[in-house]
């Protein structure tokens, strides 16, 4: 029990402390971060905490966490295909493991284990490939077979199913789920405590560039002078980057999710099926949170579709036939900016002082702590940390794409 709560319990009418404050827009900030999601706020926090850079504004056009940070299905894992991906996300998981303590805010990271199912021989091979790469990189991850799958997740149908038999699964014990909003609020609070200005309802309308260098930002609340701008706007990244005349290799596509009514706990692991395009977990409150692959066409619209609900219901029942009476309570959508190689784009752009933290596709939330930390280091030192070098924008021109694409497409 925290002292804070006990104090709050017996303090009678005294208002609880503010998590973050409101400020007038200053004329100048050392660093302006566009996007008040988990990435932007984490970067602000690490800038202040690790580099002593506190003259930072985080500009959010809506409320903090309104975008992908509050719309994802809150799955954390590091069992990627490439060494670059595994190393990067492994650091992220390690930061997440310490995050409640670091932020003094329980983000409820539940490392309950993560299962990726394989339904074909090719799928089994890909899972084995990932397990091997993971193990070599020191990440707990292994291939398991139906008996073990059944004992971890009794409700899965591991029978000799005609259409999508479960042949094996990649089991990743440290993977799990988290309370995504809490991550946003925790970072926002600790950034605020260190002097960062969080400006909600402040939309960027333009970026000033002189002689190839950023000089300021126009907002709906006025002009800000600055020499360093970080674009951490995820789905909207292309629209912000277009303000400095740079084109990105991104396509914005909605990603949808839904949640059921609360049920007594019966699903203890996160279950993912690539072939069936579904992932499912049960929150601590008992709801099933379910997501699918990105929508079939690009859009900035966050209106969900019926086709998504129909598809995911069919696929969930394919895996868990006993859930046919379970009711969907709510659906929603977020937007993702998909890069061609399913890997982020982080760091410098041709415009001096304009940095990007984009290309986060469907895997951005998982990376929030490490993305924030490495970008803070880049901003503070001017040197890209080794972990994010593979993710530079110039890789596309250099024909040096990241290999995560290898596993993502082509399914013979």
């Amino acid at each position: 029990m925290s002292i804070q709560l006990i104090r709050q319990a017996f303090n009678g009418n005294r208002p609880p402390p503010k998590m973050w404050r409101s400020h007038e827009l200053k004329e100048y900030y050392d660093v302006v971060i566009i996007g008040g999601g988990a990435h932007g706020l984490a970067c602000a926090y690490y800038l202040a905490k690790e580099h002593g850079i506190t003259d930072v504004a985080v500009l959010e056009k809506s409320y903090i966490g309104a975008g992908g940070s509050g719309r994802n299905t809150a799955i954390i894992r590091s069992n990627y295909l490439t060494s670059e991906g595994v190393r990067f996300y492994n650091q992220s998981v390690k930061l997440y493991e310490q995050l409640s303590d670091e932020l003094n805010f329980n983000v409820m990271f539940s490392q309950r284990g993560h299962l990726t199912l394989a339904h074909t021989d090719g799928g089994v091979n890909t899972m084995r490939r990932r397990a091997e790469v993971n193990q070599i990189e020191g990440v707990d991850s292994r291939l398991i077979f139906p008996d073990d799958i059944k004992s971890l997740c009794p409700y899965l149908d591991v029978s000799d199913h005609p259409r999508y038999p479960i042949l094996a699964a990649l089991y990743h014990p440290p993977g799990g789920i988290i309370r995504h909003d809490a991550v946003v609020w925790g970072y926002a609070h600790q950034a605020d405590v260190r002097g960062v200005h969080i400006h909600q309802n402040t939309e960027v309308t333009g970026i000033k560039v002189q002689d190839g260098k950023v000089t300021g930002v126009e907002t709906t609340r006025g002009h800000i002078k600055t020499g360093t701008v970080l674009n951490a706007t995820a789905g909207w990244a292309s629209t912000i980057t277009a303000m400095v005349g740079v084109k990105l290799p991104l396509t914005t596509i909605p990603l949808q999710a839904c949640v059921t009514e609360p049920l007594k706990p019966f699903l203890d692991v996160v279950v993912v099926s690539g072939s069936l395009h579904v992932y499912i977990s049960q929150t601590d409150r008992g709801e099933l949170v379910m997501g699918a692959s990105v929508d079939p066409f690009s859009s900035y619209s966050m209106a969900g579709s019926l086709a998504f609900l129909e598809g995911i219901a069919g696929h969930v029942l394919e895996l868990f036939p006993s859930l046919s009476h379970v009711r969907i309570l709510r659906q929603w959508a977020g937007i993702c900016e998909m890069p061609p190689d399913y890997s982020p784009i982080m760091g410098f752009t041709p415009v001096n002082g304009f940095l990007i933290d984009v290309g986060w596709g469907t895997y951005g939330f998982k990376a929030s702590p490490i993305a924030g930390k490495t970008l803070a280091e880049l901003i503070a030192t001017g040197k890209p940390p080794i972990l994010i070098v593979p993710f530079r924008l110039s890789r596309f021109e250099e024909n040096d794409l990241v290999g995560e694409k290898g596993a993502a497409a082509v399914g013979h």
């Binding site: 292309s238 277009a242 084109k247 396509t251 914005t252 690009s298 619209s301 209106a303 021109e397 024909n399």
Partner: protein, 88 residues
């Protein structure tokens, strides 16, 4: 569900179609492009939040590839039209 007008078959549910991405023609003379120009063609996208010209394929219908202009924020389709080769 979005209704899309196939220039051949008329109004159909969008689920009958396959999205073909933002319109961006292949360089006329690929051998004369620089690496940067080629990368621009392969990877870079306007990705506008607004009216976008894009390819669609009536894959569950007549098999026509055609173009649409659509507002990407609202998904409102402004118009659809068959592709016409500009110059041979």
């Amino acid at each position: 569900m979005l209704l899309l007008t196939c220039p051949n078959c008329g109004d159909r549910n969008v689920s009958e179609f396959r999205f073909g991405g933002e319109y961006g023609p292949r360089p006329k003379d690929p051998s004369a492009t620089s690496d940067a120009e080629w990368a621009n063609y392969l990877y870079m996208r306007h990705n506008v939040m607004g009216a976008q010209t894009e390819w669609w394929h009536h894959s569950d219908g007549c098999g026509l590839w055609f173009l649409a202009e659509r507002y990407t924020r609202t998904n409102e389709v402004i118009k659809t039209f068959p592709y016409v080769k500009r110059d041979a």
